[in-house]
Amino acid sequence: MDLSVLDRLKWLQQQQMVSPEFLQILGSDGREELKRVESYLGNNNDELQSFRHFPEFGPDYDTTDGCISRTSSFQMEPVKNSGHNRAISLQNKRKPEGKTEKREKKKIKAEDETESSMKGKTNMSNTETSSEIQKPDYIHVRARRGEATDRHSLAERARREKISKKMKCLQDIVPGCNKVTGKAGMLDEIINYVQSLQQQVEFLSMKLSVINPELECHIDDLSAKQFQAYFTAEADSKQSIMADFRSFPLHQQGSIDYSVMNGTVIISLCSNKSFIIPKFLLLVREVTYFFFLFCRKIRHHQAGKLTHNVFTTA
């Protein structure tokens, strides 16, 4: 039962705009009755439509679920509506409307202050939109059908929608979540996925621990080519040039000097060997990785001084 429509019709009746036949229709389906009501409202319907596109309510306006959203506003004249507002306050528990956005919470608060004089706590009476035009300083809160207008439940709803939005984002990330519907199933899927990922990490670390002690020094000697081969998809032309590094003398004392000259980068150890790499083939990541490894290697194996100049690409 849609109480707000009932109230609205009572108010209309006072205005002598609607015949009492419509009260009988209210027993039927909610949406149907609203449509009928709105069809009988005539020119007021147009104002409702135009009000729906009010820019104040912006992109968050949501009619995808098929509910007809109405604006509810507070009627400033106490005389006419005192009757049915008291009726509303009596039926406080079963509130028929009230979807708001978070940013309209302040409006609810302001509305509360004005309403307290009317003896309704967080009640909002659903009135004719024509009255809106008479009183432009109304506080507008978008209301959804069949939901409570209590401030706490509004906050709850806003929070729940935030959570469901984020869960939709999660749904895109976790594979296989599309088939399951409903929050509970999705959350179970997500939990299972996280658990399986953690188990995979553990399994792979076990595998690594088996492999690792047999190939102790292997990781340190990883060349750029191997790094690329392991971790990146593109591996073709750069490998041949980078393979030179494998024969790089790692046990030499001295300095690593990167210098940029004429569009090429010269990596040279202080002794005789040096390699020239065309700049466009350099990947910064690999070189920094190399740099790091060489420093580490030299630090470990030699007691000598290490000097290095950080290179900059032009």
Partner: protein
């Protein structure tokens, strides 16, 4: 890797960053236990696993995420280092007391699943459900990246 989410920023660095950090931590491990392999296999496995998590937390953006901070704090606590973020921790626990009081009134289905998630995701104890969802999304992305890196490494190192 840019994410398609417009609500949450779940950008995660490339695979190379993860690989770099992981290899760095592995070589750190080897530096600590240079030549003698510990007898118990579990010890080594645990060390590697811990190194994997720590490197993942560092690669995914150090202090900029709640879960990475909690992970690093947990790892440092094991090593008896001084905890740097104690002030934030106090702030977090205040949040728990204020938000948990009303938790009975929230949707019970979501909340009990969120409880389970909190046990899984590091640092989940001090977060509200909506924040928990963001952190879970980022955590899942980083975890999957770390798994890929480790898989590549194992494939590369395994004898052919």
């Amino acid at each position: 890797m840019a994410s398609a989410d417009k609500l949450i920023n779940t950008d995660v660095p490339e695979k190379d960053v993860f690989a770099f950090h992981f290899l760095q931590s592995l070589s750190n491990l080897r530096k600590q236990n240079p030549f003698d392999t510990p007898d118990q296999k579990n010890y080594r496995v645990r060390k590697i696993k811990k190194a994997a998590y720590v490197s993942m937390a560092r690669a995914a953006g150090g202090s900029s995420r709640l879960w990475s901070r909690a992970l690093l704090r947990r790892a440092d606590k094991d090593d008896n280092k001084i905890v740097r973020f104690s002030r934030r921790k106090r702030k977090v626990t205040w949040k728990i007391s204020s938000k948990r009081r009303r938790s009975n009134q929230r949707a019970p289905v979501v909340e009990e699943a969120a409880e389970r998630l909190r046990n899984l995701v590091p640092g989940g104890g001090g977060m509200e459900t909506s924040k928990l969802m963001e952190e879970t999304a980022h955590y899942i992305k980083c975890l999957s990246m770390q798994v890929k890196v480790m898989q590549c490494l194992v494939d590369g190192l395994s004898p052919k």
